[in-house]
Symmetry: C2
């Protein structure tokens, strides 16, 4: 059912833009969804894309611009005059307009705001620029439908017709008192099915979940998911209704957070995409690689201090990548489970039970892997003593790695640091060092060198 | 604003359940949201929780049960009679009811369906049990508001009052022709603002995005995100309207998918949570650990074949965990970026350019890390030749690991396999083996042993 963007379409558009056949372009892209227009803009070169943005209706292009990658949007906006940008902003909900604006330089921001025709819209945008991008204030839109408790259903419907024009989607109607305090809500369904003569005061639902304008995006996302809300009103400290956050903004937020956690686990420190430049990708990746390298160099130093083993049991050194890999894998597994548990708020119960649990899991895994190592060692010809030494050391390393992987994220979380940072290279690296140290210390104890 | 579950509340409830003071319990939990009831059930023991489920209104408990962890839900349901389960199901939308049912044994399923009072509801549920859980058919709810194009707005509102009672949330009103084919939609906003005498045929929006009942959940999620849809109608192959999928189901789906990808990247093969049993957690983790071990044992074998180096340059063996770690880290970074790129559909352009890009990034990172290694080696006293050998080998390993990390997911994706499986232990392990092999081969070439 979705509109298909073919190579032919792009070629045809390029040809028409070159030929300057604007009426034909408008006809071709008539009623195409902004999200598809965004994909088309992405396929064209900057000059062609700019031409399209200027040509098409700004109610379409404004939303298309919102869907674009930040880099491309910035590039396109730099080709527009402040007045042209203001025209696009006029079509957007205030939250999207603010996202848009905050990417521009301060100077251009001022010019654009000055050029916005709708004064109320401009005032809303200025107010919202104050809020942190990831707070409820930064996520909310000012556009909503609000009614007074003293109105009748019929009067309410009439007033709503005027308000609803500016609101892209009406989820709920919010009921306020004379001083604009949020006192309840009303669904459109209730309004449709109520007697037109009844008072709003008699039919509204007084229990309404709301978030404070300073709440973090995470808190809002958690609340909306827990209670399956499609929109949530935002109030200030004294309960005055300021705006509302809709689920589609939260979907994007959840996706972004998940992407960020995934990248952090993989050792990527900035939000990058496959199509970013070599330089951006390098900058995102290098810090973690350096951290990993420093850890590995520490491990080299540890091995150097155990080089006495080289003369007696050089085979011990064949197993160091194995010990490091097992420590790393176990640590990453443990921390991933805890990090998700913390994110979903289901890490409960006593830490001692958790400790016991991790040790048990480590013992089971360690014994099974140990048997495999011994079997391998004996078959390949390393002898029982050395094979058992490796197996015992590996078992200890597994338990330590599981404990580090479990409790480092918990400690970070208790100190208010995002535990996701603990997975990936950080845990891998520290477990490499611990692993090698434990391995050689135990081997020295057992084999005596 | 959210309801707070305190230890005192739980203790009080436990006391009241023990004392059998049902009226007081009902009063205490009056108007508490189902999501909070779910959390309370989670804190109580099974007998106490069962008591609550039987006591409270099934319109609350049915939704609370939906929020619970699968294990706990199964346990609670096993304490209820088929009639009691049917009563809970009666309160749920058909999609949730089906999720519920599919967890029960075939025998109990039959008994429960037989006990559902609303025959149409029962028929819907039986029909929906046929669809794959992760397809549009499995995600959709049958409950929706449908109107005929021939109706007037006034007539439509009247009929809707009856239909809307069964629909938890009215997003859109769907317009069908005489043969139940979906022909358009109408927003509640349009209905509110239209003249009551106008015909639906004159005001409905004929362009409506719909999904096929056999489409995958991923496709539905992508479509709904791309077009910012809050509900999407589901049709069969000939266009008959069957149901609708709402954004809250898709939010859960997106979250689950993100969790699964994260776990896969961390080497966890089943969907587990921090609070699962030791056995479940072990089963999810062991397969990847064994895979990693096999790879490491292969690396042991490779080192054994290069043991000639022990007599000439034993220090080479101090660097094997470093080479393996760098190879693993680079591989995971590359694959994470590509896996996300594939998921977000922005891996475009020629594979040769991508190859060139990965090689460039590898060169930059490799040269910087190489300089650090040489500096370390010379300072610690390994000498220029050995330090440079390690650095050159590491540079080659980085480039190979980046290429493996980039192209394995792309190949898997082209063959229809979920590329997320490639990150984590799989890439780490294969890069360990390649890394060690390249390292010693190059060292042999340069140092000659």
């Amino acid at each position: 059912m979705a509109f298909e963007i073919t190579e032919e379409l792009i070629e045809q558009l390029e040809f028409l833009i070159e030929a300057g056949d604007d009426p034909r372009i408008s006809e071709l892209l008539h009623e195409v969804h902004p999200a598809d227009i965004a994909e088309i803009l992405d396929e064209l070169n900057t000059d062609e894309a700019t031409h399209l943005v200027k040509l098409l209706d700004s109610s379409t292009t404004s939303e298309a611009l919102m869907e674009l990658d930040e880099d491309l949007r910035e590039e396109l906006l730099s080709n527009l005059t402040p007045e042209e940008i203001a025209e696009e902003l006029d079509q957007l909900d205030s939250d999207d307009a603010v996202d848009f604006l905050s990417e521009l330089s301060d100077e251009i921001q001022q010019q654009v705001i000055g050029a916005i025709e709708d004064e109320e819209h401009a005032r809303h945008i200025i107010e919202m620029l104050r809020y942190d991008e990831n707070s409820a204030g930064g996520l909310m839109a000012r556009e909503l439908v609000r009614v007074r408790e003293t109105w009748t259903v019929a009067g309410c419907v009439q007033k709503m017709r005027i308000q609803a024009k500016n609101v892209t989607r009406v989820h709920s109607v919010y009921v306020v008192d004379k001083r604009e305090h949020l006192i309840g809500r009303l669904s459109l369904k209730d309004l449709l099915t109520a007697d037109t003569k009844s008072k709003i005061a008699d039919i509204y639902i007084p229990n309404v979940d709301a978030v404070n304008v300073h709440d973090s995006g995470e808190e809002v996302a958690r609340l909306m998911q827990k209670y399956d809300l499609e929109a949530v009103p935002v109030v200030n400290d004294v309960g005055v209704l300021l705006g509302r956050i809709t689920i589609d903004d939260i979907v994007d937020f959840i996706r972004d957070e998940a992407d960020k956690d995934y990248q952090m686990a993989a050792g990527i420190s900035e939000d990058v995409e496959a199509d970013d430049t070599v330089w951006e990708l390098t900058r995102a990746r290098l810090p973690w690689l350096v951290l990993g390298l420093v850890g590995s160099l520490a491990a080299v130093n540890i091995m150097q201090s155990f080089q006495g083993a080289l003369t007696v049991h050089p085979e011990l050194f064949f197993f160091t990548p194995l010990v490091a890999a097992v420590a790393g894998n176990v640590g990453v597994q443990s921390s991933a489970i805890i990090v998700q548990g913390i994110a979903n708020d289901n890490v409960t119960g006593s830490p001692w039970i958790r400790l016991l649990k991790e040790v048990s899991i480590g013992l089971i895994n360690g014994v099974i892997l140990g048997i495999l190592v011994i079997a391998f060692g004996v078959i390949v010809g390393f002898g029982w003593l050395l094979s058992c030494t490796v197996a015992v050391a590996m078992l200890s390393v597994i338990i330590v790695a599981a404990l580090v992987g479990t409790f480092v994220p918990i400690l970070l979380h208790m100190r208010g640091i995002d535990p996701a940072i603990a997975t990936g290279p950080f845990i891998t690296t520290s477990n490499d060092i611990f692993g090698i140290l434990i391995y050689f210390s135990l081997a020295k104890l057992i084999l005596g060198f």
